[in-house]
Amino acid sequence: MNADFITPLDAFTIIDLILMLMLLIVGLAIVRLNDIFAIVMLAGVYSLVSALWFVSLDAVDVAFTEAAVGAGISTVLMLGAMLLSSRTALPAKPVRKWASFFIVLATGAALMYAVTDMPSFGDPLSAPNAYVGLEYLKRSLPDTEIPNVVSSVLASYRGYDTLGETSVILTAGLGVMLILGMGGKINGQLKKKAIDYDNADAQAHHTVLRVVSKMMIPLIVLYGFYVQFHGDFGPGGGFQAGVIIASAVILYALIFGVDAAKAAVPPLVVRIGAALGVLIYGGTGIAGLILGSNYLDYNVLDPHSAPHGQELGIMSIEIGVLITVCSVMLVIFYGFTSRQPDITDKDW
């Protein structure tokens, strides 16, 4: 596109290269390994390293989310679902291996074919960088008074996408509720776990964990709110904050038991929250309609100052996102933990 631009080989490029090589190693290792536990761990590491890479490519918001989701929530979920009859995967059959290999080769070839016409890495005048993206950078402050352009684009310019995104999360929560349920009922009867509490040598030994967690949990929640309300100025926002606050509850559940967590944050509250957040988001949009403008127009929320209206609207929808994300994460966690079958010793 822009033949004059040449990507410089500076310190950042070197960091970039090393991180990419790490990603390659992890990716290839996942292909080769058959130990499910190692695969789950490596998947966590993969998203950790790619989050680092996102930081080095200036995508701090993305890195934030990837860290919270990929390394945190996904790993916990994967563990929750690792109710495996065997801890190793069966190796793929050679026929299947080769067939997959050719499919992948063809797909990869199609992409490699396109590489020659792709813009150089870091080119400021390439088509994607010079057009609408640049326009957002210039307009965000005057239009919305929000310095973090990612937040303003996410919540206002492309706010409708984010409404969809929040609904996707709600749909997933709904799906887990439908597929797994949230109580402990399996086939109509309560399933009690046969854990030998008497033998739990843990009881005396976990003092450190319990004390540290008790100290950490309020701080985590506080940090969550910081991420929520500082999202306009730094990386973060409703989604990340929702995940962090949910993770505080998850930590509580890990240390004090899911029943204790359910007593503190009852499943019904969580279910209401999941729906409520989407309704707050959608309702903010409808407020724009009622005030005589288009859907999701925040300018009219404050009749005196459009940018202030934008700020109000963005705050309101971010709270909606926070509530839904936090609730759905807990719906999912409750769903998975309530359904762990007993794993026999021979499987272990």
Binding site: L111, G133, E135, G175, L279, I286, L289
Partner: protein, 518 residues
């Protein structure tokens, strides 16, 4: 006097609703879904979902006069001008699909009550209908939007809801979980391919608005990034709509889903993905370029023909009725794809008309199976024995829809096949006409097999000891008969007067191929 006053009150509301109908079409079911989660008492959730889907249909109807009058209407979310914000853009093509999807939403809800009460645990019904509403919102959202990435977001709302809905069939058939999982994996690969395609388009154009992308990549069809984007979008959406070699997930998913979900999906989900493909191929990419021409002639058309013949043959060998119908759906998708790959106005219009008609006939056929299964737990073709005697109305509707699928004159199926043949002859594609005929003959066999079992075999003696699905109360059973007969009647009606779908399809094809993006 009071009339005038009432009109004076209603008119402004109607005008207001008309102006803001584009977002309301999607937002109404989207926000009603979360509320439905809490309505699990009796039939409350069902009534709520039905009311919402009717409201949605009304909003679509409000759009209709505006679109027909102006050619297309645009709506800016948050009043941000298109390349900055997300635009809703509705022309005849969207309108056709919107009408189809929202009407099918209403019909399958009316039809589905007895089936849901039969197949879904009571405590889960509220959530089930919530997922249904979200799925509906997703499908409508894909159809109405003018923003490439927005398509992905709403495609995923509908897809995730669909995976969940399919898995709900597990109470009838435990394999539903595996079917849903395979669907999830294939669907996600498809969605990811689509995202790669959109990313490449963004790389080439710097924008995400479809009309704007079209403007920027116009004349750059030799750009390799654009070509790769084309390939990835076609494959991604091809996975979502079960295009021939990528269709393996579909038969199991449709066969094992709850009956009501089967009806809704068979008549809408693949159609919406097909719509998205048409939209991208003709509105975003440059259809006249040699590269696209080569793809049409060398890839899409042969695939379409292969689907028409191979999947019809596969349908012949199916024992399970729903699987049979699902394979036939893939074959019928081949017809639509054939129309698309002709790349001519007549061809595309015929393909779109067939899309509309196929939704009618497949909806009716799946409804027929569902209705029959209420009475005698139908899964296999054998179970249809004597249906002509035990449930004459259901059998008659099923027959009409079956004949329409074959393409017998006096049914809607004949009209679209006729136009397809005309369009193929116009391009001199004799082999396509031959394939159409072969596929129709195969359809005679597999539909004939079912009709034969229905009318020429004695009904099975229902013994109390045999564990079949409990018979639903007569009242709700009657409720299911209404939509079924309506759909069958529509299959006949649209033979005599196809002006609405034909007019919209023609206008859409002209707009797509005539003036580029507009």
């Amino acid at each position: 006097m009071t009339m005038a006053m009432a009109l004076g009150m209603i008119m402004p509301i109607l005008t207001w609703a008309g102006t803001h109908a584009p977002p309301l079409v999607v937002v109404t079911p989207l926000l009603a879904g979360p509320i439905a989660v809490f309505l699990h008492k009796g039939r409350l959730a069902w009534a709520w979902a039905l009311a919402i889907s009717i409201l949605t249909f009304v909003f679509v109807l409000l759009l209709m006069p505006q679109v027909i009058q102006n050619g297309h209407i645009a709506y800016y979310m948050g009043t941000w001008v298109p390349p900055l914000g997300i635009e809703y853009r509705i022309d005849s093509l969207n309108l056709l699909i919107l009408l189809l999807v929202s009407a099918m939403g209403v019909l399958s809800l009316v039809f589905g009550l007895p089936l849901v009460e039969n197949e879904i645990e009571e405590s889960k019904r509220g959530q089930f209908f919530a997922a249904f509403l979200l799925c509906l919102a997703g499908l409508l959202g894909v159809t109405i939007t003018g923003d490439a990435f927005n398509v992905f977001v709403f495609l995923e709302i509908s897809s995730i809801a669909t995976y969940v809905l399919v898995s709900m069939g597990a109470e009838r058939d435990r394999r539903a979980y595996v079917a849903a999982f395979n669907y999830l994996v294939m669907g996600t690969i498809g969605a990811t391919f689509f995202v790669i395609g959109v990313g490449l388009l963004y790389m080439a154009s710097g924008t995400l608005n479809m009309a704007d992308i079209a403007m920027h990549i116009h004349g750059h069809s030799d750009n390799r990034v654009v070509r790769a984007a084309f390939a990835f979008i076609v494959i991604g959406l091809g996975l979502k709509m079960a295009m021939f070699p990528l269709h393996t997930w579909l038969p199991s998913a449709y066969a094992r889903a709850p009956s009501m979900v089967g009806v809704f999906l068979a008549s809408t989900a693949t159609k919406v993905a097909f719509y998205a493909m048409v939209r991208f191929i003709f509105s975003v990419f440059t259809p006249g370029s040699p590269f696209e021409g080569a793809v049409f002639d060398l890839v899409l058309a042969p695939m379409a023909v292969a689907a028409m013949i191979i999947c019809s043959v596969q349908a012949l060998y199916q024992i399970n009725i729903r699987r049979l119908l699902a394979y036939s759906s893939i074959a019928q998708l081949g017809y639509m794809l054939l129309g698309l790959s002709m790349g001519s106005i007549a061809g595309v219009a015929a393909g779109l008309l067939h899309l509309f008609n196929h939704a009618l006939m497949k909806g009716a056929l799946f409804m027929g199976v569902g209705k029959a299964s209420l009475r005698q737990g139908v899964t296999n073709v054998q179970d249809l024995r004597g249906l002509g005697k035990t449930m004459p109305l259901t059998a008659a509707s099923f027959t009409v829809a079956g004949l329409s699928l074959i393409g017998v004159p006096l049914t809607a199926g004949f009209v679209s096949k006729y136009y397809l043949v005309v369009a193929a002859l116009e391009r001199g594609w004799w082999w396509a006409v031959a394939a159409l005929i072969v596929s129709s003959v195969l359809a005679i066999f597999y539909i004939g097999k079912m009709l034969e079992t229905m009318y020429l075999h004695e009904p099975p003696k229902i013994t109390k000891s045999k564990k079949t699905a409990p018979q639903a109360p007569a009242k709700t059973s009657l409720l299911a008969l209404g939509p079924l007969m309506l759909m069958a009647a529509a299959n006949i009606y649209f033979f005599f007067d196809a002006s609405l779908p034909k007019g919209l399809a023609d206008a859409a094809a002209k707009a797509l191929l005539g003036g580029g993006a507009s």
